[in-house]
Amino acid sequence: MFQTRIHGRGGQGVVTAAEMLSIAAFLEGKHAQAFPSFGSERTGAPVVAFCRINNKEIRLREPIMTPDSIIIQDPTLLNQVDVFQGLKPDGYVIINSGKTFGELGISEIAAKLRAERQVCVPATEIAMKHLGRPMPNAVLLGAFAGITGIITLESVAAAIRNKFSGKVAEGNISAATAAFDYAKQQLSLLEVI
């Protein structure tokens, strides 16, 4: 089972991100369960959503305590919420930021994780460019597909089309594609070094 926890703030589409991730996994024939950290969705307040992906039926209903991957939609949460709580040592971290882990003040945490499993992606800027709105949620799913390979970019695009239509869908898809490429590029830089 692959478990993802998404941290963000109310209004950033945290819950929708988890739902889209589950749809993408479903489209690949997997079982998936997405659910919010119930009830706390107020604009600007810290919000958590969860997504489990498995090859068999998922019966477990507890919140995700030991995630395989963490998506952080808002880096200002780093000082407020214990976002890395329970993260597995070989887990993935995707942060919405144009800065590096060192610049975000979390180089200690980054040092414990595998270099090819952590990436900062300026998702809000990418969203502004392709979508015209500061919505990082679908963008980060593109980066997620890029570094984890758990789902394909095509499935992310299909999940976006399932949730949105028209210009919003297309803008999110091109933004997710840009983030996918950006994440891949970061990984290839790592290989060069």
Binding site: E19, H31, F35, P36, G39, I58, R59, R61, M65, Q80
Partner: protein, 417 residues
């Protein structure tokens, strides 16, 4: 059938639409709202032909449901928590009049303190109202139970409450098998009322009944519920024939054969418990779990049979009767009268407190070791409780309790679970 990755609430809304309701009474309250919103969208889009009423309160919702059901229309509504409490007088009337209304209760705690999260206090408060109460383990079962609920309700002329865990199920996206209209039509015939308000054949429904007949009318309500004990397994078997799935029925044993300890629970927590049972059985523990699908009527015989041979019973419930203890456990003890089997109550998941595998594992080990007290509150923060009790002993003007507890706990935004 079509597999879809959708929210539990949306799955229920789609299923209700397939049941061809003629009247839907809608009043929003979390965590039920997405269901009636979903139905509203379908009615507006012309996909569902039903009278959709935006009523002014839950009391009105049930009152309208009583009127429309008495007029012979298949009637649906949904509520939760304080909403259910607000409609209580009409809830009792719907049962007393024998009207086959189907209502979803998206289980949520009851205030004060105000809390929008899940537990079973709301539907448990209505355990004696005369409605049949079915508890869904998964979203798939929640959908399936609604189809079965209309069939059962209309056969017996009794209202049925389908209880599904608020947020945990209603707001979870999962793979759901949505049946076709043809399948549902073949399983659920059009509503043929046992009583009807019809101007061309005038009758009265709801007569004043005095001491000379009240006991008999009430006894018949009980007898009807007992008929459901036979009907529920039949309907569940028919459902399996048509839809190919196990859903509904009275109880659901899981790895209970030969188990020395058997856990009993209702609703979505059964999934987490099953994962714990698998782990523990692999480690050599003799433990299984029994899910109760039908809480009203309470299947005394089926439960007694399922627990035969077990030494210890642990009833894990998301509610309790203040001043006494377990509600489900009290009923289980009735089923076990004279057997000498030990029943322990674990109250868990109140107001949305996460029920984790690790906490369950620990409490089940305690139970197996015979160390569990008669009544335990899972993951209770005793330090905070003791602190507040001490404050009350020492200070006359000790202030409101909930606020005292919150002050002791501190900031909660940084917690994951």
């Amino acid at each position: 059938m079509t597999l879809k990755q959708i929210e539990g609430s949306h799955g229920v809304a789609e299923t209700i639409a397939l049941c061809r309701p003629e009247v839907i009474c809608a009043y929003p309250i979390s965590p039920q709202t997405h269901i009636v919103e979903g139905l509203g969208e379908m009615v507006k889009a012309g996909e569902l032909r039903a009278e959709y009423l935006n009523v002014e309160s839950e009391f009105a919702a049930m009152s309208v449901a009583i009127g429309s059901s008495a007029a012979g229309a298949r009637t649906y509504t949904a509520t939760a928590s304080q909403g259910l409490l607000f409609m209580v007088e009409a809830v009792y009337n719907a049962a007393g009049l024998g009207l086959p209304i189907v209502m979803t209760v998206a289980n949520r705690a009851i205030g004060a303190p105000i809390n929008i999260w899940n537990d079973h206090s709301d539907s448990m408060s209505q355990r004696d109202c005369g409605w049949i109460q079915l508890f869904a383990e998964t979203n798939q079962e929640a959908m399936d139970l609604h189809i079965q609920a209309f069939k059962l309700a209309e056969e017996l002329s009794l209202p049925v409450m389908v209880c599904m865990d608020g947020f945990i199920l209603t707001h979870a996206y999962e793979r759901l098998d949505v049946p076709t209209q043809e399948q549902v039509d073949a399983f659920l015939p059009p509503f043929e009322p046992r009583q009807i308000l019809d101007p061309s054949h005038p009758v009265s429904i709801g007569a004043m009944v005095g001491p000379e007949a009240f006991t008999e009318v009430r006894y018949l309500a009980h007898a009807k519920q007992l008929q459901a004990l036979d009907l529920l397994p039949e309907i569940s078997a028919d459902f399996k024939k048509s839809f190919g799935r196990d859903s509904g029925g009275l109880i659901r044993p899981y790895k209970t054969e030969g188990a020395e300890t058997i856990v009993i629970a209702l609703g979505s927590v059964l999934g987490t418990i099953k994962d714990v049972i698998d782990e523990m059985q692999e480690a050599g523990c003799s433990i299984g779990v029994l899910g109760i699908t039908s809480f009203r009527p309470f299947p005394l015989d089926a439960i007694r049979d399922a627990l035969k041979g077990a030494k210890r019973i642990v009833v894990l419930e998301k509610c309790f009767a203040v001043g006494v203890g377990g509600i489900v456990a009290t009923n289980v003890r009735m089923a076990l009268e004279g057997s000498g089997q030990q029943v322990r109550t674990v109250v868990a998941g109140l107001g949305g407190r996460a029920i984790t595998m690790s906490s369950l594992h620990a409490i089940f080990l305690e139970a197996m070791a015979g160390k569990l007290e008669a009544l335990t509150f899972l993951d209770l923060n005793s330090e905070v409780v003791d602190h507040v009790l001490e404050l009350e002993r020492n200070v006359r003007l000790s202030g409101p309790v909930a606020e005292s507890v919150l002050r002791n706990i501190g900031t909660v935004a940084s917690n994951i679970a």
